[in-house]
Symmetry: D2
Subunit: 171 residues, 4 copies
């Protein structure tokens, strides 16, 4: 039997982590949406190491934030089989480019993902994107990627397409 891959999951905030207040009365042990989603998946391929780095709407991220995330990804890449970054989609591409610049000789894949529609909506894309990123980080070669909406794109040159609400390769 194959061993599970050890994946560092760096969370930084954004739509995908917006608070799950539905059952607050019952639960109030303050579980994050990310934990609820992870618990709802059957994860036979990965062992997840949670790294809750920050909790920011990505529109408010500074250059320092992008640097910090990239450096943390680099540090985690040394000690794990892959790195997953959960990120607000507005500045996700900026962080992706920074990871790509800073980490020239990555030995493992770094996969970014996020959500356009919050988990609170029945038609959220959060579960789909997290599922895809958790699979992609196991089978992609070393490099920096976004996995979202049933698609994987490699940095550099990935941008958010605001009109269509997804990510594309720059023309």
């Amino acid at each position: 039997m194959t061993a599970r891959k050890r994946i560092a999951l760096i969370s930084t905030g954004g739509t995908i982590e917006k608070t799950y207040d539905e059952l607050d009365g019952v639960l109030n042990n303050q579980v994050s949406v990310l934990d609820v989603m992870l618990a709802s998946l059957t994860l036979e391929g990965v062992e997840i190491v949670r790294v809750p780095l920050m909790n920011k709407d990505s529109l408010e991220m500074t250059e320092g934030d992008h640097d910090l995330i990239a450096k943390t990804a680099g540090a985690m890449a040394e000690a794990h089989d892959g790195v997953l970054i959960v990120h607000g989609t507005d500045r996700l591409a900026a962080t992706g480019e920074r990871v790509h610049e800073l980490l020239d000789d990555l030995g493992v894949p770094v996969v970014l993902t996020g959500a356009l529609r919050p988990y609170q909506l029945r038609n959220t894309d959060a579960e789909q994107n997290l599922t895809e990123a958790l699979l992609a980080v196991q089978i992609l070669p070393p490099g920096v990627y976004v996995a979202i909406h049933n698609k994987v794109l490699a940095f550099p040159g990935v941008v958010k397409d605001r009109d269509r609400g997804t990510f594309v390769k720059q023309a």
Copy 2:
């Protein structure tokens, strides 16, 4: 912008396709669960060609059924960028082995998936497994695989682990 991959989705029945009767009164246009799940995903990476081959509980599949599925997969592999087979889990591995034997020099990936817990259950694995298979078929090299429970395994030598309710590589 990258073109979408054309994927043939061969459906054969099994738990993942069990009838969605919840809203029959309203809908009764007889949409299959598979169509409901596909409609709930944002699919930017694939263009799906539906091939509804049979609708069987896999426990009732004959040798002829396994052959038919394998040959259909081979034919579809010629004309598409990948093939996805939705299959009952009890005999999924038998079909996977048959595809592997028959199709020696596949030019594209053939990915099998299914579900252990029906879509009607809140804790179904159907959506997760379908999401994973739809991503895996885009990024894996040519070969025959099962994608399920956040894991990808290559044939030959894959078996269902009935105790744990998932798939593993044979020891």
Copy 3:
């Protein structure tokens, strides 16, 4: 066995009817949210006659709209065992008062309901409120009521409590 009650369900729009676009790709037979909710309930006590009167955000309702709804409720009350009005919550109380003024000697209950949180949200109150209104209209004596948030209040003197997001009796 008791016969079912014949209930006229007058729909006027509002949050509870906001479009259900989740599965548009599959379904596009344009089923309204109200129909989806009705189909998801087991209704052994009522036979529903749908009267789709208008489809307005209640903030845009005119005096003429309130009159029209009240008169329609009166006409329906003549021929049914009860009347249910689905209404935007912002002007629901205004319509309720109008029904109460116009229809002095009602022989059956008229129950208004609506939703504060759209059906698209996982924590919607639409299903709860519709369920309550469908039961209340069977067992209340003749009169005009709002049934919402596990509570029944009789007109006149009902107002929306905007701070708490529900309805209360005027002090």
Copy 4:
């Protein structure tokens, strides 16, 4: 503003309370399904006093169990504005009849409810029935009732209709 009614909610087990194991990994604070459902409702009309009396499949209930439930309902009826009993549907009618025999001069309504399809199923009737019972117990006159499937029936003479999967008045 009207004061909330104080309702004793006696839980006895049955389909409506079947374990909610979906998110066990995250939550494992062992919240019951009943608590999850109560937390998902907006309850402005009642203040609930939980009385977890037993947790039995009703098929295994003895005469002593029916007596115990009826006596507990009687005791709770003395001190509350209403009593709600959550019960397995197979023996719900037997308990209802016992409550009716034992408690001749009830001053408040006693409402029984249950579910035919477990909460784990997307098409469960548990939420609907609980919602209805919580409303019915506020507006019905004193007596013993079942509230289920959008219908209220008064004891004595209520039976489960096994073919149709609901409750009816005996012919």
